[in-house]
Symmetry: C2
Subunit: 152 residues, 2 copies
């Protein structure tokens, strides 16, 4: 059965916030799956929906959500004005893992980036997620960079 | 003397494209410093200028350019709708290095992200650039992620 893709809406926030919280490896999770439609989440969703260079997807199997991810399209000067796609917040429901859905999702995401004229796609993955690193290498990603984060 | 900051314009493309080319560690540089005002560069600059979540800066010392960097502001669901700042294309002129300008630039960039309400700032750096890694750690960045790139 093929996966289907659509833009995330308010009705998807319970699914997304629960999944984000379950996957949090930070040690200090700050999300609140008990209040997934709180104003901070709704405002973030609206900011994404109104930005033509943002896309937040819900991935479905037979009408039920199995995953989510976000794309950001970034113009830049380097490589003759090459656009980049940034993939963030990739999650698959725990009970739907190891079925190849992640790979299908990411191939679909790469196609969207190609359609948008991106010459490159980039993402970062926490150093603890060794399975994810193998997964992205299998998809053809080069593990060429160090990823730095600073909380303000 | 303090550094000053302003949005990049077409007149800055010769400076930026020369600097990007000089810093390219890819082994297969694709930029053309002989044609810095070619349509692909002008179009990229226009795409950045018209996107309220993009900012491309020229950093000056006494009216002369010494560096450049790009900020992208990204809304997201995680961490209660936290915005992130993404820093890309950080360059300092070869003759202006080791004077502390990079540190000043990045502290100024972090302030802009804070002003825009970002809760986190992220960037990636090629694994070959060990000096850059030390530099970002000194600024307080955590080297917590692996950075993946895939050319389309």
């Amino acid at each position: 059965m093929p996966l289907t893709y659509r833009a995330a809406t308010s009705a998807d926030l319970p699914f997304m916030v629960a999944l984000i919280t379950a996957d949090d490896v930070s040690g200090t999770p700050t999300d609140d799956p008990a209040a997934p439609n709180a104003p901070h989440y709704e405002q973030a969703l609206a900011a994404i929906a109104t930005d033509p260079n943002q896309a937040l997807y819900i991935v479905e199997l037979a009408g039920a959500p199995v995953g989510t991810f976000q794309l950001t399209f970034i113009p830049g000067i380097m490589r003759k004005g090459m656009w980049r796609g940034l993939i963030e917040s990739v999650h698959v429901s725990p009970e739907q893992r190891n079925k190849g859905f992640g790979k299908q999702m990411m191939r679909w995401a790469l196609e969207r980036c190609r359609e948008r004229g991106c010459g490159m796609v980039q993402l970062t993955s926490n150093k603890k997620r060794l399975d994810a690193h193998r997964f992205y290498r299998t998809l053809g990603f080069e593990q060429s960079h160090e990823g730095f984060k600073l909380f303000l």
